[in-house]
Amino acid sequence: MLQISPPATSRLLLGDEAVALGAIDAGISAAYSYPGTPATEIMETLMGAAPDGVVAHWTANEKTAYEAALGVSMAGRRALVAMKHVGLNVAADPFMSSALVAIAGGLVVAVADDPGMHSSQNEQDSRFLADFARIVCLEPASSQEAYEMTREAFEVSERFGIPVLLRLVTRIAHSRSPVTTAPPRPTPPLDKADRPQDWILIPGNARRLWHGLVALQPELEAWAASSSHTMLTLSDDDRGLGVITAGIGRNHYLENGADLGYTPSHLHLGAYPVSAKLIRNLADHVEQLLVIEEGYPFVERRLAGVLPTRWDVLGRDSGTLPADGELTPDTVRAALGLPVRTGIDLTGMVLPGRPPQLCKGCPHEESFEALLAALAGIDQSVVMSDIGCYALGALPPYQAIESCVCMGASIGMAKGAADAGLRPSLAVIGDSTFLHSGITPLMDAVAHRTPITVLILDNGTVGMTGQQPTLLPGSSLEPLLAGLGIEPDHLHVIEITRQRVTELTALLRAEMDHPGPSVIVAVRECVEARKDRRQGTAS
C-alpha cells in the first residue's frame, strides 16, 4: 500500500518532537509515557499529532507504560514508550525481561537522560541499561537523527525480536534543529504472536530465550558496526590521535575540529552494542584514543581495563574530560589540547542566584505554612518528601522538607523512619506522585499500622512538567485511601485556602499523635493548570 505524503519541507523541531513524529511515521498503534523532564514533550507531541485510532496517553507510571507497550507488541503491532532516565528504573522489571520474549510488533523505548541534572536527581546513563538488557541502543545527535533513528528502531526491533532503546540526552531532547520527514509507513495489522512459549518466562522457557539472546549478541554487534549511524574514517594526516565520539559528543568535537589543523582518525558511534571490530581497526591506526561521550564513561570503559595496553585511552575516567556533568564545546576543546579562549569577564560583581520558586499563589504555600506551624515546638520530627514542585519546599522561605529521592519514596521512607523510632514521621507527596508510586508503600504502613502521617498535596495536575492531567480525578483519592484501609477518623480531605491554614495545622497536630497511619489530602488546583484550563475553555 503506497501512501502519498505532502512534499518534504524541513521543520525546526525539538529532539522530543522528532521522536514523536518518527514513531507516528513508523506506524505505531500505541504510545505510553509518564511525564518527566526532558522526555515530556514526546507524549505531548504524540497526543497532538497522532492520527485517529492511535492510542497515545499518559499512564500511572513508567512500569505500567512499558507493560502496556509490551502487550501491543505481542499483538503484533508497534508501540513507543517514552520516559526520562530515572523512569527506566521504575520500568526496569518489565524492561529487563522483555529482552527475552519474542518481540513481535516493534517495541521502542525512548529514554531521555539528563546529564548535568538540569531537572533530575541523578545523571545515570541509559546506555548501561541497554547493555544490561543486552539489546540494541540508538543514540541520535540531532533532531533529524532522532526522527530517522526512531523509525529505524522499529525495524531493528522486529528484525531481531528485541526491544530497542533510543537514548536521548537533554541537549538533543530540548534542542531544535531542522527535520525533514519521510512518507509514513502504514500501521501493521493485528497479528498476535503465536508462540506463547516465547512469552511465558517460566525458567525452562526463560533459559532457552536467554541463551538465544546471548547467542544473538555477535549479530547485534555486526549490525551496529554496519549501521549508517556508525562511521569510521581513518586519516593519514596524523597517526597519533584517534577520536571516538558517541551521540552528541560528535557535535562538540566537530565544533572544535577545524582548529586542530589536522584531521584525526575518527570513529563515531550512533548504534550499540559497541563494535569491537571497528575499535580495533581504529586503534591499529593510532597511538592514543580520546573518547568523547555524553554521560558515563561507557565506551571508554570498554577500551580501558585494569591491564596496561599499548594505547593511551583518554576520556572521562582518565581525567581528560570532566568525570561528571554535561559535556560542552569548551570541555571538549580543552581535551583536544586546543588553547582556551578568553574574553570579557564579570569583575567586581557577585550575581545573586535565581533558583526556581513556587508560582505566586501556588496551593503548596499554605500547606507548607500549616506543616511548619504543626511542627513548631516539637523537638524531633521528620518530613520526608518527594518528586514534584513541592520539592521547592526544601528552599527558603519554607525549608519544610527533609528528603527528595525518587517517585513515592516519601511514604516508604517515613515508614522506615517511624520503624526506627523517629516520631512524628511525615510524608509530603503530590497527587500524581502518589498514584505513580505512593500507594504500595502506604499499603505497607496500613498492614503494619505504622504511625506515619501522609500529607497528599492534591493540585489536580503534574505541575512541574507542565501541567499534564493527573491520571485519576482528586475525588477518587478518598475512596481509594479508604479502600486501602486508612481508618475514616484518620482520613481527611480539606480544601486548602489561606483561611484554613489553622485548621490544617490542627489536623496535622492531631494526626501526628495517632499511633497508626493517617492521611490528609489538601486540595486546591495548581494556578498554572487553572490558567491552562481557562485558556482552553476560552478559545
Partner: protein
C-alpha cells in the same frame, strides 16, 4: 560564520518566544539554526536561558562555546550579565533595563546598570516601551527589535516572524507586537544624520 545568541531572562518573561521568533526569521532566510531551551523545574520563576546559533553552514554543537557569542540578549539585566563569559570580545550585550527582584540579595540596580555600560552594553527600557505600545507583555518583542539592529537578518523577515508568532491571537495583538518591535529597533538604530 556562526552567529551565536544567548537569550537570558526569568521564567515567564518569554525567553523561548524570543528565541522562536528569531529562529523563524533565520529559517525564512534559508539559514541553518540550532536552538536550545530550558523546560521543567528550571522554569519556575528561576533563571531561564535559551541559545540560538545561526549560520549559512551546518552547525556542529548545540551549545555556544565560551567567549564566542555575537550577542547576549537579556530580558533582565542580572540575567544578561550571568552569561557574560559567553560573549565574544567583539560581541554585543543588549538587555532590558528593568530588574526582576524576586531574590533577596539583588545588587543595587545602579551598579548593575554601571557594569552593563562599562562593558559597552546597551540598556533598553523594554517594559516602559512595551506599555507605551499597548502591553507590558510585549517587552520581549521590544528586545527582539533592539537586537534586530545587530542581527544578521533582514528587518522584513523579523517583522514577518513577529506577525506569524502572534497571528493566532488576533490583529490587535499583532499590532501591539509590531509596534513593540519597531520601538525597540528605534532605540538602538544609529541616528540618521
Amino acid at each position: 560564520m556562526t552567529s551565536d545568541i544567548v537569550i537570558a531572562g526569568v521564567g515567564g518573561q518569554g525567553v523561548l518566544s524570543v528565541a522562536a521568533i528569531i529562529a523563524r526569521a533565520a529559517r525564512a532566510e534559508g539559514l541553518e539554526v540550532k536552538q536550545t531551551e530550558v523546560h521543567g523545574m528550571a522554569q519556575r520563576g528561576g533563571a531561564v536561558q535559551a541559545t540560538l546559533r545561526i549560520s549559512p553552514q551546518p552547525i556542529a554543537s548545540e551549545l555556544v562555546p565560551r567567549h564566542t557569542a555575537a550577542m547576549i540578549l537579556g530580558l533582565e539585566p542580572v540575567e544578561a550579565l550571568r552569561y557574560l563569559e559567553y560573549l565574544s570580545p567583539d560581541g554585543v550585550l543588549i538587555t532590558a533595563a528593568e530588574p526582576v527582584t524576586n531574590v533577596t540579595d539583588y545588587p543595587p540596580l545602579a551598579e548593575v546598570h554601571a557594569v552593563v555600560r562599562r562593558i559597552g552594553g546597551h540598556l533598553v527600557e523594554a517594559f516602559r516601551l512595551a506599555k507605551e505600545c499597548g502591553s507590558p507583555r510585549a517587552a520581549n518583542v521590544v528586545m527582539v527589535g533592539a537586537a534586530s539592529v545587530h542581527l544578521p537578518l533582514a528587518v522584513g523577515s523579523l517583522e514577518a516572524a513577529v506577525t506569524e508568532a502572534f497571528i493566532a491571537k488576533g490583529e490587535r495583538v499583532v499590532g501591539i507586537n509590531l509596534a513593540a518591535f519597531r520601538a525597540g529597533r528605534a532605540i538602538l538604530s544609529p541616528a540618521t544624520p
